[in-house]
């Protein structure tokens, strides 16, 4: 055991002292944050940009109220430019098209003369993306104008409209067996997503280090010297644990830093994120799935590394392993939409997917305890198997130099 500890110590110290570790620890949270918040920030940024819409209003009664309605909106970013149609309707329409084409206006809107009887408007745009402008801003404002006009025609109090069309406000609470928590769904999804990304990135980055480290050991011809001092299984275990400990250190630093920041109140995409929003059960599972996921992938990466002489050689095999982490990321929406349906349940019990999918279910829903525990047990069993497979590959491959491995030679190594 002291030999394994010696290897653990070396791998751990080597990693923690590296510049990459320091940079990763500092920039990791920024990167993850950007990954989660980035898209919504980007959407906001483009949304906030001022837009002009050229309007031909043949009723003569829409532009004014429309401008008011647009200005009343929370995020008013649309300005209207009404065209002067003195020179005739056809010429006026041509002017509008020319403006849109010349990008003097972002879009064109034509309100027909019978708009109030037959509400159908024409929208001109050069980029399909402009429909966001149509559906997000123009549409609701135009509907409001239309409704106001109808209220007027029916001699109804326009103030009534606000009452009639008041929309539902949501107050979403997540129920757990013992308490109702003030967490809202967005926080669950965003927070869960952020933690899932940490598991995903850390398992891949640190798992693959096992592959490169073992290959380095082979190319530097260290391996035979080492095997004269300890068994291949001890060498592999020491590496996997040492590198894993470095990964754990990094996550621990982030967690502590995260707790400190969230104590100040961290607002992400309009929702307050606080570590205390997630209970101990969530945190327990975060570390369980992070560690189990790491061990599963790390030992298999190490086994593959032992069979290969260069990183290029190893790619044909490691890609397959990496897919085991990428596929659940692609399936994540399925789980978020219906976390308790049979499909999500089955997918989240697949050991290679559990670290991502079962954990995602835990953060957006309350999967039954037996399912969570089953996924732990299945994962632990798979790790045990993976270790046997990897150990076998390691013993068979570690002294093979020269030959490029194939799936056939891998299978042969496994048969012993």
């Amino acid at each position: 055991m002291s030999k394994v500890l010696t290897v653990i110590r070396k791998e751990y110290i080597e990693r923690v002292h590296s510049k990459a570790f320091l940079i990763g620890t500092l920039l990791g949270p920024l990167f993850m944050g950007a990954l989660v918040i980035g898209p919504s920030l980007l959407a906001d940024a483009t949304g906030d940009q001022a837009r002009t819409v050229a309007v031909v209003d043949r009723t003569g009664r829409v532009v004014g109220p429309l401008e008011t309605a647009l200005a009343e909106r929370e995020d008013s970013y649309v300005t209207l430019t009404e065209l002067d149609c003195a020179s005739g309707e056809a010429a006026c329409l041509e002017d509008l098209k020319a403006m849109v084409l010349a990008e003097e206006a972002d879009a064109g809107l034509v309100i027909p003369a019978d708009f109030f009887a037959n509400p159908e408007a024409t929208f001109y745009n050069t980029a399909v993306g402009a429909v966001v402008l149509r559906d997000d801003a123009l549409g609701p404002a135009l509907n409001q104008v239309l409704q106001d006009e109808r209220f007027r025609r029916e001699n109804l109090d326009p103030a009534l409209r606000a009452k009639l069309f008041a929309r539902t406000g949501w107050n979403t609470l997540k129920l757990t067996a013992d308490a109702e928590s003030a967490q809202n769904a967005e926080v669950g999804i965003i927070g869960g997503f952020m933690m899932v990304m940490i598991i995903y990135i850390m398992v891949l980055v640190y798992g693959q280090q096992n592959l490169t480290v073992v290959i380095e050991e082979k190319t530097s011809r260290m391996v035979e010297v080492l095997l004269a001092s300890l068994r291949p299984e001890q060498l592999m275990l020491g590496k996997v644990l040492g590198i894993g400990l470095a990964a754990l250190t990094q996550v621990a630093v982030w967690t502590v830093a995260g707790a400190a920041v969230s104590a100040q109140g961290l607002v992400v995409a309009g929702a307050e994120i606080s570590l205390s929003l997630f209970g101990p059960w969530f945190w327990l599972n975060f570390f369980v799935f992070f560690l189990l996921g790491y061990f599963l992938y790390a030992s298999l990466y190490a086994g593959i590394g032992a069979m290969c002489n260069s990183v290029q050689d190893s790619q044909q095999f490691s890609v397959v392993l990496t897919m085991g982490m990428v596929v659940p990321i692609l399936l994540m929406t399925v789980v978020i939409k219906a976390p308790d349906q049979p499909l999500a349940t089955i997918l989240s019990l697949v050991p290679f997917f559990s670290p991502i999918l079962m954990f995602m279910r835990i953060s957006v829903s309350n999967p039954p305890l037996w399912q969570v525990v089953t996924s732990w047990v299945l994962l632990a069993g798979t790790i045990w198997l993976a270790n046997k497979v990897a150990g076998q590959l390691f013993r068979a491959g570690i002294l093979l130099y020269g030959a490029t491995p194939t799936w056939g030679s891998l299978a042969k190594a496994l048969r012993g």
Partner: protein
């Protein structure tokens, strides 16, 4: 894990013993029933051409590969894993961690042999001083020249004070200075009572250094014993003759199996048991001799004869079967 303690036998008594070692790779029998008995304190040459099965035998000794059959004992005890902490091994395929400092590297390798960290660091510093690398203790290995890196590898092999050292093709790739250094290290270790298993295909090198040898070829042991006993078993077998006047040795001399010109002199192969003295008179009668040399056979000559004999017996066995 406590470091295994060995009851060392007296110098000269059997220390490492291997019985009937066999290892098969696919259809190829890499090692076929090799038995060795290596006395304590000996420098034991484990000899044979490339592919003879030397490295396979050594890897079995170090538990790097599993033999199909055979027993190994060290100091009379079965060679279990913990006893391997008493064995230093410098493989033919050897390297260092390029990004680690020299001292850390040596300390790490010593720790893996069971030396506590504090002591390992101290010994690493001592060894680096001893090999004139003291200034490089805190430098990374990749800032060292190849020759210096080889010195670090030597130190790693001896640093934990082994009772047995296995050196596989240790001189290949060394410059003359490091060959001399390695030889000195080997002799100093022997002085300490360390047993050295010295595997090489360079027979001349082995002849200079070894007390006892074992020759293997095709996975089979061909001969073994002390250098003297091996030589005694292979007496004079060749006489070199030259004539001042361009004469030549008479053909058909009794007991001469072959004669040919080689490097400006005649080379006569003798039948086993023939005393070269008996040839002097008939050769002198054939002309004015400028050279008559009856040399003791070199190890490589012994080896060639032994291999030929071995192959002939094997052919006979096969044709009988």
């Amino acid at each position: 894990m406590t470091a295994a303690k060995l009851d060392l036998p007296e110098v000269g008594e059997p220390f490492l013993e291997v019985r009937e070692l066999r290892k098969r790779y696919g259809d190829k029998l890499a090692v076929d029933g090799v038995s060795l008995s290596i006395p304590r304190g000996a420098i034991y040459g484990f000899l044979g051409p490339n592919g003879a099965g030397k490295t396979t035998t050594i890897r079995c000794l170090m538990d790097i590969i599993l033999p199909d059959h055979g027993a190994m004992t060290l100091g009379g005890r079965p060679l279990v894993r913990s006893l391997r902490d008493r064995i230093g091994y410098l493989p033919e395929e050897r390297g260092l961690y390029r990004k680690m400092t020299c001292q850390e590297q040596l300390a790490y390798l010593a720790q893996l042999k069971g030396v506590p960290r504090r002591e390992a660091l101290a010994r690493a510093a001592q060894w680096l001083d001893r090999l004139e690398l003291g200034d490089y203790a805190k430098r990374k290995v990749d800032s060292l020249s190849k020759g210096m890196q080889q010195k670090v590898q030597f130190a790693a092999t001896f640093i934990f004070g082994p009772d047995l050292v296995i050196l596989d093709e240790v001189f290949s790739g060394l410059d003359p200075l490091n060959i001399e250094l390695m030889r000195d290290l080997i002799l100093a270790e022997r002085q300490r009572g360390t047993t050295i298993l010295f595997s090489t295909h360079m027979l001349a090198e082995a002849e200079r250094l070894c007390d006892a040898v074992c020759l293997i070829e095709g996975g089979v042991k061909i001969l073994d014993g002390s250098l003297d006993s091996v030589r005694a078993a292979y007496p004079f077998q060749m006489v070199r003759v030259a004539y001042r006047d361009g004469g030549e040795p008479p053909a058909g001399l009794p007991g001469v199996s072959e004669r040919r010109m080689e490097d400006g002199a005649w080379r006569l192969e003798l039948a086993p048991g023939l005393d070269p003295q008996a040839l002097l008179a008939p050769l002198a009668a054939a002309g004015s001799l400028s050279l008559f040399a009856a040399n003791r056979p070199t190890l490589s000559e012994i080896f060639l004869v032994a291999v030929r004999r071995q192959r002939a017996t094997r052919r006979d066995e096969r044709s009988q079967a």
